[in-house]
Amino acid sequence: MREVNYRNNDYYSNDSFNNEVLGLIAIYYVLKHAHKMSSAKVMLILPLAFHNNIVRYINDSRTDVKSIDQLIIKKPEFFSNFNERFYSMLEISANSTLILAAMNLISIQEDGMIVLKDSDENLLLESTKKKDIGIRAFNIVKASKGIGELLNQRKENLYLQLRVEI
């Protein structure tokens, strides 16, 4: 069982579990595989990457996730509150994207496309080893290729399949 601190007032200040640093890592490493993505799709990364069960499922060597449609059919429980998660994490998604742009790691084009600036000197993390970045970040990095593949279809269809209310 996870321990909770006995400190006073830790109740409201405790939404650091899903934060911008992890957001940066998730978005950056998904873009590492996809290179270029519309901003609408980038907003879908965190609701997937911050869901531990989805990450665990993608990283499981026994599973082969082909498409988002197939995943929704196989594991509908992962998506039952996707809409709520999308809006809850929208702020972190936007912040993380803007920070990445400010760090000069990505560029946001006028048409809303987000493009990775590929260079060997300019990396977000020097190491992605488990002991350096922690287990949750490590798992997200590991799943980033799979998440990129899930998002590799028309954004209209993604929003429809994931039932995000716009």
Binding site: M1, R2, E3, V4, Y6, N8, N9, Y11, Y12, N14, D15, F17, F50, H51, N52, N53, I73, P76, E77, S80, N81, E84, R85, Y87, S88, M89, R163
Partner: protein, 420 residues
């Protein structure tokens, strides 16, 4: 504008396709009602057919019309064409039903149902006669006489197609016609298939706000299945087992999701600085707890245990993305609202008094009385988070957490005492 139809208008199939859709949604509706041992078929033995466990079969014909005036007339072409088709099925020699014995046997094991969106008309003589025959208030001979009259064209006119269908029924022998008519049923004015389907889903405990999701999931899966079966030249026959295997998971989408509550929590030791906790201080000030009580320590263990139990569960749900930050905040404000009502209720009398005298003049006994009432009132409340009802321990834990902050208090002067 000329009245001539354009090529596009001629080739558009809107009126045809709605017929197919009507049939399809009726099939979906039947499928949702399938019981163990039954099978439902689509475009196999008829538009739709249902096979019961005991071998009884129901053949269903569906007729949808958008243009008609809306009532089923005596010589409705759809009606008689359907009856003619059924007669052909009954007398199908390819299935070994050329002898009248086997025909009667087949009729006895089959129900014939015509479903249409046309409505019943009180003037429809044929439907009336059918009902009379079923109730045995009309003899088969007079029924056949009526059929003969119906299909005899007026002088100087030729037999229409419908007349031919009617005489086909008339030409069968008495036993045939009587048995057949008794197994004939009409389901009229069926136009609200979506309402029916949604009702079916509700019957399976799908909550209102998820109906749409579940419906779309089942709908698209079924369409895909029909397409694939037909493409591979298989028949679309779905048994209860197939249905259960293929469609149960879509109801997951609508399952009112319960959060997994971790119930087993060992009793937590009391923290050393427990006196600095506002939740405890508030209870001491309201004289609900007292340091000299024999069970003082036990009370503290209960309070801290339920507090930790709630905090840990919330944290776990957040980390597993079962709930979002917004849901947590909604839960908090809901809990505060519940406390607020109870606080106002218990202090209404005191508040009236306070308008006349200052707080220092109030009887301290009275303040404590009201605070105690409020406290036990709130402890009796059960809270709900994201459709999951929390048990008493967890609900109480939430109020202790809130009184720690403090977002709530028990005494009438709690704000002055503890805030800032």
């Amino acid at each position: 504008m000329s009245k001539e139809k354009s090529i596009q208008e001629k080739t558009s199939a809107d009126s045809k396709s709605i017929g197919f859709d009507y049939q399809y949604y009726f099939f979906l509706n039947e499928l949702l009602q399938i019981k163990e041992g039954q099978t439902v078929g689509y475009e196999v033995k008829d538009d739709v057919h249902i096979e019961m466990r005991d071998g009884m079969e129901t053949l269903i014909q569906l007729k949808h019309s958008i243009s008609s005036t809306g009532t089923l007339s005596v010589k409705d072409e759809d009606l008689w064409k359907t009856i003619s088709n059924w007669i052909d099925i009954i007398t199908d020699s390819a299935l070994g039903r050329s002898a009248s014995d086997s025909q009667i046997e087949f009729i006895k094991n089959t129900n014939f149902l015509l479903v249409t969106n046309k409505s019943n008309s009180s003037r429809n003589e044929f439907l009336k006669k059918v009902n009379l025959l079923k109730e045995n208030s009309l003899t088969i001979t007079s029924f056949k006489e009526y059929l003969l009259k119906l299909c005899t064209p007026k002088k100087g006119k030729n037999k229409s197609q419908v007349d031919k269908y009617i005489s086909k029924l008339h030409s069968k022998d008495n036993e045939f016609v009587e048995e057949f008519i008794k197994k004939l049923d009409f389901c009229l004015s069926k136009d609200d298939l979506f309402d029916l389907i949604y009702t079916r889903l509700k019957e399976k405990n799908v909550p209102e706000r998820r109906l749409e999701n579940v419906f779309h999931a089942i709908d698209s899966s079924l369409r895909k299945m029909i397409y694939e079966e037909v493409k591979s030249r298989k028949k679309v026959i779905i048994s209860f087992e197939d249905y259960y295997k293929r469609f149960t998971r879509y109801f997951e989408l609508g399952r009112s999701k319960k959060l997994p509550i971790k119930l087993i929590t060992p009793k937590k030791p009391i923290p050393d600085d427990y006196n600095s906790y506002l939740s405890i201080k508030q209870l001491l000030d309201a004289e609900i707890l007292d340091k000299d009580d024999l069970d003082y320590e036990d009370e503290l263990v209960t309070i801290f245990t339920s507090k930790i139990l709630l905090l840990n569960n919330i944290e776990e749900w957040l980390q597993e993305s079962e709930i979002t930050e917004e849901e947590k905040m909604r839960f908090n404000s809901n809990s505060i609202r519940i406390w607020e009502i109870s606080h106002k209720k218990s202090h209404a009398k005191l508040k009236r008094k306070l308008r006349r005298v200052s707080i220092d003049e109030l009887d301290s006994e009275e303040i404590i009385e009201c605070a105690t009432e409020c406290y036990y009132d709130v402890l009796g409340e059960k809270l709900t988070i994201d459709e999951t009802e929390l048990d008493q321990d967890l609900s109480n834990g939430q109020f202790y957490v809130l009184s720690d902050e403090p977002s709530i208090g028990w005494r009438i002067d709690w704000k002055e005492l503890y805030k800032n």
